[in-house]
Protein backbone atom coordinates (compact mmCIF):
# COMPACT_ATOMS: atom_id res chain seq x y z
CA UNK A 1 0.00 0.00 0.00
CA UNK A 2 2.71 2.44 1.07
CA UNK A 3 4.68 1.52 -2.03
CA UNK A 4 1.71 2.27 -4.22
CA UNK A 5 1.28 5.72 -2.72
CA UNK A 6 4.95 6.40 -3.21
CA UNK A 7 4.72 5.26 -6.81
CA UNK A 8 1.71 7.48 -7.36
CA UNK A 9 3.52 10.45 -5.83
CA UNK A 10 6.59 9.85 -7.96
CA UNK A 11 4.55 9.65 -11.13
CA UNK A 12 2.75 12.89 -10.25
CA UNK A 13 6.12 14.59 -9.80
CA UNK A 14 7.37 13.03 -13.03
CA UNK A 15 4.30 14.17 -14.97
CA UNK A 16 4.67 17.69 -13.60
CA UNK A 17 8.26 17.78 -14.79
CA UNK A 18 7.61 16.52 -18.32
CA UNK A 19 4.34 18.38 -18.89
CA UNK A 20 4.99 20.74 -21.79
CA UNK A 21 3.52 24.12 -22.41
CA UNK A 22 0.10 24.33 -24.08
CA UNK A 23 1.49 26.34 -26.99
CA UNK A 24 4.30 23.89 -27.51
CA UNK A 25 1.94 20.99 -28.00
CA UNK A 26 -0.13 22.87 -30.57
CA UNK A 27 2.13 22.84 -33.60
CA UNK A 28 3.14 19.97 -35.91
CA UNK A 29 6.28 17.89 -35.46
CA UNK A 30 7.84 19.13 -38.71
CA UNK A 31 8.03 22.70 -37.35
CA UNK A 32 11.50 23.59 -36.01
CA UNK A 33 12.18 24.34 -32.35
CA UNK A 34 10.56 27.66 -31.35
CA UNK A 35 12.71 30.63 -30.37
CA UNK A 36 10.28 31.85 -27.70
CA UNK A 37 11.06 30.43 -24.26
CA UNK A 38 7.71 29.22 -23.04
CA UNK A 39 9.03 28.45 -19.57
CA UNK A 40 9.50 32.21 -19.01
CA UNK A 41 5.80 32.83 -19.62
CA UNK A 42 3.79 29.79 -18.68
CA UNK A 43 0.48 29.62 -20.43
CA UNK A 44 -3.02 28.91 -19.27
CA UNK A 45 -6.32 29.48 -21.02
CA UNK A 46 -7.20 32.44 -18.79
CA UNK A 47 -4.00 34.31 -19.66
CA UNK A 48 -4.67 33.71 -23.36
CA UNK A 49 -8.23 34.99 -22.93
CA UNK A 50 -6.99 38.06 -21.03
CA UNK A 51 -4.48 38.72 -23.82
CA UNK A 52 -7.24 38.39 -26.39
CA UNK A 53 -9.40 40.91 -24.50
CA UNK A 54 -6.47 43.37 -24.40
CA UNK A 55 -5.73 42.82 -28.10
CA UNK A 56 -9.26 43.82 -29.11
CA UNK A 57 -9.61 46.67 -26.58
CA UNK A 58 -9.02 50.32 -27.61
CA UNK A 59 -8.25 51.03 -23.92
CA UNK A 60 -4.60 50.60 -24.96
CA UNK A 61 -4.74 53.82 -27.02
CA UNK A 62 -4.67 57.44 -25.86
CA UNK A 63 -8.17 58.39 -26.98
CA UNK A 64 -9.65 54.88 -26.65
CA UNK A 65 -10.25 54.58 -30.41
CA UNK A 66 -7.57 52.20 -31.68
CA UNK A 67 -7.00 48.60 -30.67
CA UNK A 68 -4.35 46.19 -31.91
CA UNK A 69 -7.07 44.70 -34.11
CA UNK A 70 -7.66 48.07 -35.82
CA UNK A 71 -4.46 47.38 -37.73
CA UNK A 72 -4.29 43.59 -37.41
CA UNK A 73 -7.51 42.10 -38.78
CA UNK A 74 -8.19 38.45 -37.77
CA UNK A 75 -9.85 37.63 -41.10
CA UNK A 76 -6.72 38.71 -42.96
CA UNK A 77 -4.33 36.64 -40.89
CA UNK A 78 -4.05 39.77 -38.70
CA UNK A 79 -2.60 41.94 -41.47
CA UNK A 80 -4.04 45.37 -42.32
CA UNK A 81 -6.10 45.24 -45.50
CA UNK A 82 -7.36 48.24 -47.47
CA UNK A 83 -4.35 50.28 -46.39
CA UNK A 84 -0.84 50.00 -47.71
CA UNK A 85 0.45 51.97 -44.71
CA UNK A 86 -1.07 51.55 -41.26
CA UNK A 87 -3.53 54.06 -39.73
CA UNK A 88 -3.36 55.10 -36.07
CA UNK A 89 -5.09 57.57 -33.74
CA UNK A 90 -6.39 60.81 -35.31
CA UNK A 91 -6.02 59.13 -38.73
CA UNK A 92 -2.26 59.43 -38.54
CA UNK A 93 -0.56 57.36 -41.21
CA UNK A 94 2.43 55.25 -40.27
CA UNK A 95 5.32 54.47 -42.55
CA UNK A 96 4.89 50.72 -42.87
CA UNK A 97 2.39 48.03 -43.77
CA UNK A 98 1.08 45.95 -40.84
CA UNK A 99 2.34 42.36 -41.16
CA UNK A 100 0.45 39.12 -40.49
CA UNK A 101 0.50 37.78 -36.93
CA UNK A 102 0.87 34.03 -36.42
CA UNK A 103 3.63 31.51 -35.72
CA UNK A 104 5.38 34.34 -33.87
CA UNK A 105 7.19 31.97 -31.49
CA UNK A 106 9.69 31.27 -34.31
CA UNK A 107 10.64 34.89 -34.98
CA UNK A 108 14.12 35.91 -33.88
CA UNK A 109 13.07 39.57 -33.97
CA UNK A 110 9.98 41.61 -34.78
CA UNK A 111 9.02 44.41 -37.18
CA UNK A 112 10.18 44.68 -40.81
CA UNK A 113 13.59 45.88 -39.59
CA UNK A 114 13.87 43.68 -36.48
CA UNK A 115 13.71 46.71 -34.17
CA UNK A 116 12.03 44.67 -31.45
CA UNK A 117 14.07 41.87 -29.90
CA UNK A 118 11.45 39.94 -27.90
CA UNK A 119 7.75 39.23 -28.35
CA UNK A 120 6.98 40.35 -24.78
CA UNK A 121 8.12 43.93 -25.42
CA UNK A 122 6.56 44.17 -28.89
CA UNK A 123 3.27 45.72 -27.70
CA UNK A 124 5.14 48.66 -26.11
CA UNK A 125 6.00 49.89 -29.60
CA UNK A 126 2.47 50.47 -30.99
CA UNK A 127 1.14 51.55 -27.57
CA UNK A 128 3.67 54.38 -27.25
CA UNK A 129 4.10 55.32 -30.91
CA UNK A 130 2.56 58.81 -31.41
CA UNK A 131 1.17 57.81 -34.83
CA UNK A 132 -0.25 54.49 -33.64
CA UNK A 133 -1.87 54.34 -30.19
CA UNK A 134 -0.09 57.40 -28.72
CA UNK A 135 -0.35 56.17 -25.11
CA UNK A 136 2.14 55.49 -22.30
CA UNK A 137 2.41 52.16 -20.53
CA UNK A 138 2.01 53.80 -17.12
CA UNK A 139 -1.27 55.40 -18.18
CA UNK A 140 -2.49 52.11 -19.62
CA UNK A 141 -1.81 50.55 -16.21
CA UNK A 142 -3.80 53.33 -14.51
CA UNK A 143 -6.75 52.73 -16.84
CA UNK A 144 -6.63 48.96 -16.41
CA UNK A 145 -6.37 49.29 -12.62
CA UNK A 146 -9.53 51.41 -12.54
CA UNK A 147 -11.42 48.82 -14.55
CA UNK A 148 -13.30 46.16 -12.54
CA UNK A 149 -13.49 43.74 -15.47
CA UNK A 150 -9.72 43.75 -15.87
CA UNK A 151 -9.20 43.41 -12.10
CA UNK A 152 -11.28 40.25 -12.36
CA UNK A 153 -9.51 38.94 -15.48
CA UNK A 154 -6.04 39.45 -13.97
CA UNK A 155 -7.20 37.82 -10.76
CA UNK A 156 -8.43 34.77 -12.66
CA UNK A 157 -5.30 34.51 -14.77
CA UNK A 158 -2.63 35.18 -12.13
CA UNK A 159 -4.22 34.38 -8.78
CA UNK A 160 -4.26 38.00 -7.58
CA UNK A 161 -5.55 41.20 -9.11
CA UNK A 162 -2.21 43.00 -9.39
CA UNK A 163 -1.94 44.65 -12.80
CA UNK A 164 1.59 45.58 -13.88
CA UNK A 165 3.61 46.03 -17.07
CA UNK A 166 5.07 42.55 -17.05
CA UNK A 167 1.74 40.77 -16.66
CA UNK A 168 -0.01 42.97 -19.20
CA UNK A 169 2.68 42.43 -21.83
CA UNK A 170 3.04 38.73 -21.16
CA UNK A 171 -0.73 38.25 -21.44
CA UNK A 172 -0.72 39.91 -24.86
CA UNK A 173 2.11 37.52 -25.81
CA UNK A 174 -0.01 34.62 -24.60
CA UNK A 175 -2.73 35.53 -27.08
CA UNK A 176 -0.22 36.12 -29.88
CA UNK A 177 1.46 32.76 -29.17
CA UNK A 178 -1.88 31.00 -29.46
CA UNK A 179 -2.08 32.14 -33.09
CA UNK A 180 -0.64 29.14 -34.87
CA UNK A 181 -1.30 28.48 -38.53
CA UNK A 182 -0.50 24.92 -39.57
CA UNK A 183 -3.65 23.60 -41.25
CA UNK A 184 -3.22 24.56 -44.88
CA UNK A 185 -3.47 22.32 -47.91
CA UNK A 186 0.35 22.33 -47.96
CA UNK A 187 0.35 20.88 -44.42
CA UNK A 188 -2.11 18.15 -45.44
CA UNK A 189 0.14 17.36 -48.40
CA UNK A 190 3.19 17.10 -46.09
CA UNK A 191 1.26 14.75 -43.84
CA UNK A 192 0.35 12.63 -46.87
CA UNK A 193 -3.37 13.27 -46.41
CA UNK A 194 -3.87 14.78 -49.86
CA UNK A 195 -1.91 15.31 -53.05
CA UNK A 196 -1.22 18.53 -54.95
CA UNK A 197 -2.68 18.84 -58.45
CA UNK A 198 -0.17 19.15 -61.32
CA UNK A 199 -0.26 22.95 -61.30
CA UNK A 200 0.38 23.17 -57.55
CA UNK A 201 3.04 20.48 -57.84
CA UNK A 202 4.86 22.42 -60.54
CA UNK A 203 4.51 25.64 -58.55
CA UNK A 204 6.00 23.89 -55.51
CA UNK A 205 8.93 22.66 -57.61
CA UNK A 206 9.61 26.18 -58.93
CA UNK A 207 9.19 27.63 -55.45
CA UNK A 208 11.88 25.31 -54.09
CA UNK A 209 14.09 26.33 -56.99
CA UNK A 210 13.72 30.11 -56.64
CA UNK A 211 12.10 31.17 -53.38
CA UNK A 212 12.85 28.64 -50.66
CA UNK A 213 16.28 30.14 -49.80
CA UNK A 214 14.61 32.95 -47.94
CA UNK A 215 10.94 31.91 -47.63
CA UNK A 216 12.09 28.68 -46.05
CA UNK A 217 9.73 25.75 -45.47
CA UNK A 218 7.81 24.90 -43.37
CA UNK A 219 7.38 28.41 -41.84
CA UNK A 220 8.12 30.06 -45.20
CA UNK A 221 10.68 32.42 -43.72
CA UNK A 222 14.14 32.02 -42.24
CA UNK A 223 13.49 35.36 -40.44
CA UNK A 224 16.73 36.83 -41.79
CA UNK A 225 17.08 40.28 -43.35
CA UNK A 226 17.38 40.41 -47.13
CA UNK A 227 17.19 42.84 -50.00
CA UNK A 228 14.69 41.41 -52.50
CA UNK A 229 15.28 44.12 -55.06
CA UNK A 230 12.51 46.63 -54.39
CA UNK A 231 13.38 50.14 -55.51
CA UNK A 232 13.54 52.87 -52.85
CA UNK A 233 10.29 54.80 -52.34
CA UNK A 234 11.71 58.30 -51.95
CA UNK A 235 8.57 59.59 -50.22
CA UNK A 236 9.33 57.20 -47.32
CA UNK A 237 13.12 56.79 -47.47
CA UNK A 238 12.92 53.59 -45.49
CA UNK A 239 16.37 52.01 -45.16
CA UNK A 240 15.08 48.95 -43.29
CA UNK A 241 17.50 46.99 -41.12
CA UNK A 242 20.16 49.70 -41.52
CA UNK A 243 18.23 52.12 -39.29
CA UNK A 244 18.60 49.63 -36.43
CA UNK A 245 22.04 48.10 -36.95
CA UNK A 246 23.69 51.19 -38.56
CA UNK A 247 25.72 48.69 -40.62
CA UNK A 248 26.01 49.93 -44.24
CA UNK A 249 25.58 46.35 -45.53
CA UNK A 250 22.12 46.24 -44.02
CA UNK A 251 20.64 49.10 -46.02
CA UNK A 252 17.40 48.19 -47.84
CA UNK A 253 17.26 44.83 -46.10
CA UNK A 254 13.92 43.83 -44.58
CA UNK A 255 12.85 40.82 -42.59
CA UNK A 256 11.74 37.98 -44.88
CA UNK A 257 7.96 37.69 -44.33
CA UNK A 258 6.24 34.32 -44.03
CA UNK A 259 4.14 33.36 -47.03
CA UNK A 260 1.59 31.31 -45.12
CA UNK A 261 -1.88 32.84 -45.73
CA UNK A 262 -0.30 35.19 -48.28
CA UNK A 263 -3.47 34.96 -50.40
CA UNK A 264 -5.18 37.02 -47.67
CA UNK A 265 -2.40 39.33 -46.49
CA UNK A 266 -2.44 41.87 -49.34
CA UNK A 267 -1.18 44.50 -49.92
CA UNK A 268 2.38 43.14 -50.08
CA UNK A 269 5.87 44.23 -48.97
CA UNK A 270 6.93 46.53 -46.12
CA UNK A 271 5.22 49.51 -47.74
CA UNK A 272 2.30 47.60 -49.25
CA UNK A 273 3.32 48.60 -52.77
CA UNK A 274 1.86 45.53 -54.51
CA UNK A 275 -1.85 44.71 -54.40
CA UNK A 276 -1.73 41.29 -56.06
CA UNK A 277 0.46 38.21 -56.13
CA UNK A 278 0.72 38.61 -59.90
CA UNK A 279 2.47 41.97 -59.35
CA UNK A 280 4.82 40.29 -56.85
CA UNK A 281 5.67 37.59 -59.42
CA UNK A 282 6.35 40.25 -62.06
CA UNK A 283 8.70 41.97 -59.65
CA UNK A 284 10.74 38.81 -59.01
CA UNK A 285 10.80 38.08 -62.73
CA UNK A 286 12.30 41.47 -63.61
CA UNK A 287 14.99 42.02 -60.98
CA UNK A 288 17.43 44.80 -61.83
CA UNK A 289 20.67 42.81 -62.17
CA UNK A 290 22.76 46.00 -62.18
CA UNK A 291 21.82 46.58 -58.52
CA UNK A 292 24.57 44.78 -56.61
CA UNK A 293 22.91 45.44 -53.23
CA UNK A 294 20.27 42.80 -53.97
CA UNK A 295 20.79 39.60 -51.95
CA UNK A 296 22.83 37.04 -53.90
CA UNK A 297 20.02 34.45 -54.09
CA UNK A 298 18.19 36.85 -56.41
CA UNK A 299 21.16 38.02 -58.49
CA UNK A 300 19.95 36.13 -61.53
CA UNK A 301 17.25 36.14 -64.11
CA UNK A 302 14.41 33.82 -63.08
CA UNK A 303 13.04 33.70 -66.65
CA UNK A 304 9.64 32.50 -65.51
CA UNK A 305 7.02 31.99 -68.23
CA UNK A 306 3.54 33.31 -67.56
CA UNK A 307 2.34 29.74 -66.94
CA UNK A 308 5.11 29.24 -64.41
CA UNK A 309 4.15 32.43 -62.59
CA UNK A 310 0.57 31.21 -62.40
CA UNK A 311 1.76 27.85 -61.09
CA UNK A 312 3.77 29.47 -58.31
CA UNK A 313 0.72 31.50 -57.32
CA UNK A 314 -1.36 28.30 -57.31
CA UNK A 315 1.18 26.82 -54.94
CA UNK A 316 1.12 29.96 -52.72
CA UNK A 317 -2.66 29.51 -52.42
CA UNK A 318 -2.09 26.07 -50.88
CA UNK A 319 -0.61 27.97 -47.90
CA UNK A 320 -4.04 29.38 -47.03
CA UNK A 321 -5.28 28.06 -43.69
CA UNK A 322 -9.04 28.61 -43.55
CA UNK A 323 -9.29 26.91 -40.19
CA UNK A 324 -6.91 29.54 -38.81
CA UNK A 325 -8.47 32.52 -40.60
CA UNK A 326 -11.96 31.78 -39.33
CA UNK A 327 -11.10 30.32 -35.94
CA UNK A 328 -13.65 31.85 -33.52
CA UNK A 329 -11.11 31.53 -30.69
CA UNK A 330 -9.00 34.23 -32.32
CA UNK A 331 -11.81 36.58 -33.20
CA UNK A 332 -13.31 39.48 -31.26
CA UNK A 333 -14.17 38.14 -27.78
CA UNK A 334 -17.92 37.90 -27.20
CA UNK A 335 -18.86 39.70 -24.02
Amino acid sequence: MKNKILLLLLSVVFLALISIDKHESSFPKYFPKPVYQFEQNQSNDLKIELGRTLFYDPILSLDNTISCASCHNPYNAFAHVDHNLSHGINDKIGKRNAPVLFNLAWHKSFMWDGAINHLDVQALAPISHPDEMGETMSNVLLKLNRNQIYKQLFYQAYGDSQINTERTLKSISQFLLSLISSNSKYDSMLLGKIQFNTQEQNGYRLFKLHCNFCHKEPLFSDFSFKNNGLSLDTSLNDFGRYSISLLPNDSFKFKVPTLRNVEFSYPYMHDGRFKTLAQVMNHYNSIDLKNKKISTELQRNLNLSSNEKVDIIAFLRTLTDKKFLFNPQHAYPKK
Partner: protein, 218 residues
Protein backbone atom coordinates in the same frame (compact mmCIF):
# COMPACT_ATOMS: atom_id res chain seq x y z
CA UNK B 1 1.65 19.50 -9.08
CA UNK B 2 0.29 22.00 -6.62
CA UNK B 3 2.05 20.38 -3.69
CA UNK B 4 5.31 20.38 -5.58
CA UNK B 5 4.84 24.04 -6.45
CA UNK B 6 4.11 24.96 -2.82
CA UNK B 7 7.16 23.04 -1.70
CA UNK B 8 9.39 24.86 -4.19
CA UNK B 9 8.00 28.24 -3.25
CA UNK B 10 8.45 27.43 0.44
CA UNK B 11 12.12 26.62 -0.18
CA UNK B 12 12.70 29.72 -2.28
CA UNK B 13 11.03 31.99 0.28
CA UNK B 14 13.27 30.39 2.89
CA UNK B 15 16.38 31.02 0.78
CA UNK B 16 15.39 34.59 -0.02
CA UNK B 17 14.66 35.51 3.57
CA UNK B 18 17.91 33.91 4.63
CA UNK B 19 20.03 35.94 2.24
CA UNK B 20 18.25 39.13 3.19
CA UNK B 21 18.88 38.43 6.84
CA UNK B 22 22.46 39.68 6.43
CA UNK B 23 22.31 43.46 6.75
CA UNK B 24 23.15 45.48 3.67
CA UNK B 25 25.52 48.38 3.74
CA UNK B 26 24.11 51.54 2.18
CA UNK B 27 26.73 53.34 0.15
CA UNK B 28 25.93 56.95 -0.60
CA UNK B 29 26.19 58.03 -4.24
CA UNK B 30 26.54 61.80 -4.62
CA UNK B 31 25.95 63.80 -7.79
CA UNK B 32 28.48 66.60 -8.30
CA UNK B 33 26.88 69.28 -10.46
CA UNK B 34 28.82 71.35 -13.01
CA UNK B 35 30.41 74.54 -11.69
CA UNK B 36 28.24 77.63 -11.71
CA UNK B 37 30.65 79.29 -14.14
CA UNK B 38 29.94 76.60 -16.73
CA UNK B 39 26.24 77.60 -16.66
CA UNK B 40 24.97 74.10 -17.22
CA UNK B 41 21.69 73.36 -15.55
CA UNK B 42 20.81 69.69 -14.90
CA UNK B 43 17.05 68.95 -14.70
CA UNK B 44 17.26 65.20 -14.58
CA UNK B 45 19.81 62.47 -14.14
CA UNK B 46 19.07 58.75 -13.87
CA UNK B 47 21.30 55.75 -14.41
CA UNK B 48 21.42 51.99 -14.10
CA UNK B 49 24.30 50.34 -12.26
CA UNK B 50 24.49 46.56 -12.51
CA UNK B 51 26.54 43.42 -11.88
CA UNK B 52 28.19 44.84 -8.78
CA UNK B 53 31.10 42.74 -7.49
CA UNK B 54 33.19 43.50 -4.42
CA UNK B 55 36.54 41.75 -4.01
CA UNK B 56 39.56 41.71 -1.72
CA UNK B 57 43.28 41.32 -2.47
CA UNK B 58 42.89 37.50 -2.51
CA UNK B 59 40.41 37.94 -5.34
CA UNK B 60 37.65 36.63 -3.13
CA UNK B 61 34.46 37.99 -4.53
CA UNK B 62 31.07 38.85 -3.24
CA UNK B 63 28.08 39.69 -5.38
CA UNK B 64 25.71 42.35 -4.33
CA UNK B 65 22.32 40.69 -3.60
CA UNK B 66 20.10 42.59 -6.05
CA UNK B 67 22.27 43.31 -9.00
CA UNK B 68 20.40 46.03 -10.87
CA UNK B 69 20.04 49.48 -9.41
CA UNK B 70 18.18 52.36 -10.98
CA UNK B 71 19.56 55.53 -9.38
CA UNK B 72 17.33 58.56 -9.76
CA UNK B 73 18.72 62.01 -8.98
CA UNK B 74 15.65 63.92 -10.14
CA UNK B 75 14.62 65.18 -6.73
CA UNK B 76 17.83 64.74 -4.72
CA UNK B 77 21.58 64.90 -5.30
CA UNK B 78 22.19 61.71 -3.36
CA UNK B 79 21.08 58.14 -3.82
CA UNK B 80 21.90 54.98 -1.93
CA UNK B 81 23.39 51.80 -3.32
CA UNK B 82 22.82 48.76 -1.14
CA UNK B 83 25.76 46.37 -1.08
CA UNK B 84 26.50 43.33 1.02
CA UNK B 85 29.19 44.26 3.57
CA UNK B 86 32.46 42.56 2.73
CA UNK B 87 35.49 42.61 5.01
CA UNK B 88 38.84 43.78 3.56
CA UNK B 89 37.30 44.78 0.27
CA UNK B 90 39.71 46.72 -1.92
CA UNK B 91 37.90 46.76 -5.24
CA UNK B 92 34.39 47.64 -6.31
CA UNK B 93 33.47 46.69 -9.85
CA UNK B 94 30.18 47.40 -11.63
CA UNK B 95 28.63 48.15 -14.98
CA UNK B 96 27.27 51.53 -15.97
CA UNK B 97 24.16 50.28 -17.74
CA UNK B 98 22.58 46.88 -18.35
CA UNK B 99 24.09 43.96 -20.25
CA UNK B 100 22.79 42.25 -23.39
CA UNK B 101 21.23 39.37 -21.44
CA UNK B 102 18.88 41.73 -19.62
CA UNK B 103 18.30 43.71 -22.78
CA UNK B 104 17.02 40.63 -24.61
CA UNK B 105 14.97 39.06 -21.81
CA UNK B 106 11.58 40.52 -22.69
CA UNK B 107 9.25 42.10 -20.14
CA UNK B 108 10.81 42.40 -16.68
CA UNK B 109 9.48 43.92 -13.48
CA UNK B 110 10.65 46.06 -10.56
CA UNK B 111 13.58 48.38 -11.31
CA UNK B 112 13.69 46.88 -14.80
CA UNK B 113 10.03 47.66 -15.58
CA UNK B 114 9.94 49.27 -19.06
CA UNK B 115 7.43 51.83 -17.74
CA UNK B 116 10.16 53.39 -15.54
CA UNK B 117 10.98 55.60 -18.53
CA UNK B 118 14.36 53.97 -19.06
CA UNK B 119 13.37 51.82 -22.04
CA UNK B 120 13.24 52.50 -25.77
CA UNK B 121 9.90 51.20 -26.97
CA UNK B 122 10.47 51.65 -30.73
CA UNK B 123 13.78 49.79 -30.70
CA UNK B 124 14.03 47.28 -27.87
CA UNK B 125 16.63 48.11 -25.27
CA UNK B 126 17.22 49.85 -21.99
CA UNK B 127 18.46 53.40 -21.67
CA UNK B 128 21.57 53.04 -19.50
CA UNK B 129 21.46 56.66 -18.39
CA UNK B 130 19.64 59.92 -19.04
CA UNK B 131 21.11 63.38 -18.50
CA UNK B 132 18.78 66.27 -19.33
CA UNK B 133 18.94 70.00 -18.82
CA UNK B 134 19.59 73.41 -20.35
CA UNK B 135 22.56 75.64 -21.03
CA UNK B 136 23.01 78.92 -22.92
CA UNK B 137 25.91 77.22 -24.75
CA UNK B 138 23.56 74.66 -26.17
CA UNK B 139 22.40 75.59 -29.67
CA UNK B 140 19.35 73.31 -29.72
CA UNK B 141 15.74 74.49 -29.36
CA UNK B 142 15.15 76.22 -25.97
CA UNK B 143 18.84 75.55 -25.20
CA UNK B 144 17.85 72.06 -24.12
CA UNK B 145 20.18 69.09 -24.13
CA UNK B 146 19.08 65.47 -23.84
CA UNK B 147 21.46 62.57 -23.52
CA UNK B 148 19.87 59.13 -23.53
CA UNK B 149 22.55 56.47 -23.86
CA UNK B 150 22.13 52.76 -24.44
CA UNK B 151 22.64 49.99 -26.97
CA UNK B 152 23.72 46.42 -26.35
CA UNK B 153 24.35 45.02 -29.85
CA UNK B 154 27.72 44.84 -31.57
CA UNK B 155 29.36 47.17 -32.60
CA UNK B 156 27.42 49.75 -30.58
CA UNK B 157 27.43 48.15 -27.15
CA UNK B 158 27.38 51.12 -24.78
CA UNK B 159 28.02 49.18 -21.58
CA UNK B 160 31.07 50.25 -19.57
CA UNK B 161 32.64 48.43 -16.65
CA UNK B 162 33.86 50.68 -13.87
CA UNK B 163 36.56 49.64 -11.36
CA UNK B 164 36.91 51.69 -8.20
CA UNK B 165 39.64 51.10 -5.64
CA UNK B 166 38.70 50.95 -1.97
CA UNK B 167 40.80 51.20 1.15
CA UNK B 168 40.01 48.03 3.15
CA UNK B 169 37.56 48.64 5.98
CA UNK B 170 37.34 52.40 5.48
CA UNK B 171 33.92 53.91 4.94
CA UNK B 172 33.49 55.59 1.56
CA UNK B 173 30.99 57.14 -0.74
CA UNK B 174 30.81 57.34 -4.53
CA UNK B 175 30.80 60.61 -6.47
CA UNK B 176 29.59 61.12 -10.01
CA UNK B 177 31.31 64.22 -11.31
CA UNK B 178 29.08 65.72 -14.00
CA UNK B 179 31.38 68.75 -14.26
CA UNK B 180 33.95 66.40 -15.72
CA UNK B 181 31.32 64.89 -18.04
CA UNK B 182 30.61 68.28 -19.61
CA UNK B 183 34.34 68.91 -20.01
CA UNK B 184 34.71 65.63 -21.90
CA UNK B 185 31.84 66.26 -24.30
CA UNK B 186 31.27 69.74 -25.58
CA UNK B 187 27.59 70.67 -25.73
CA UNK B 188 28.35 73.28 -28.37
CA UNK B 189 28.81 70.32 -30.71
CA UNK B 190 26.66 67.58 -29.24
CA UNK B 191 23.35 68.22 -27.50
CA UNK B 192 21.07 65.29 -28.34
CA UNK B 193 21.72 61.57 -28.18
CA UNK B 194 18.53 59.50 -28.36
CA UNK B 195 19.49 56.12 -29.80
CA UNK B 196 22.30 53.55 -29.88
CA UNK B 197 25.30 54.40 -32.08
CA UNK B 198 28.71 56.08 -32.04
CA UNK B 199 27.54 59.09 -30.01
CA UNK B 200 25.98 56.87 -27.36
CA UNK B 201 29.30 55.03 -27.09
CA UNK B 202 31.15 58.32 -26.73
CA UNK B 203 29.00 59.79 -23.96
CA UNK B 204 28.87 56.44 -22.13
CA UNK B 205 32.67 56.31 -22.00
CA UNK B 206 32.68 59.91 -20.79
CA UNK B 207 30.22 59.28 -17.97
CA UNK B 208 32.01 56.06 -16.92
CA UNK B 209 35.15 58.09 -16.26
CA UNK B 210 33.25 60.42 -13.91
CA UNK B 211 32.77 57.87 -11.12
CA UNK B 212 35.15 57.90 -8.16
CA UNK B 213 35.29 56.75 -4.56
CA UNK B 214 35.90 59.20 -1.73
CA UNK B 215 36.91 58.07 1.74
CA UNK B 216 34.55 59.39 4.41
CA UNK B 217 36.50 61.48 6.95
CA UNK B 218 35.50 60.70 10.49
Amino acid sequence: MNVLFRFISFISIFIISYSFATPLAGVKVVLIRPHQADSINIDGFKCYLSNIVISDSNKKKDLSPSNYHLLDFTSSDTATLYLSPFANANLLEFNLGLDSVINTSGALGGQLDPSNGMYWTWQSGYINFKIEGTSPHCLARNHEFQFHAGGYAYPYNALNTINLELIPNKAFHIEIDLALFFKLISIQNLNHVMSPGPNAIKISKALASCFKTVIDEK
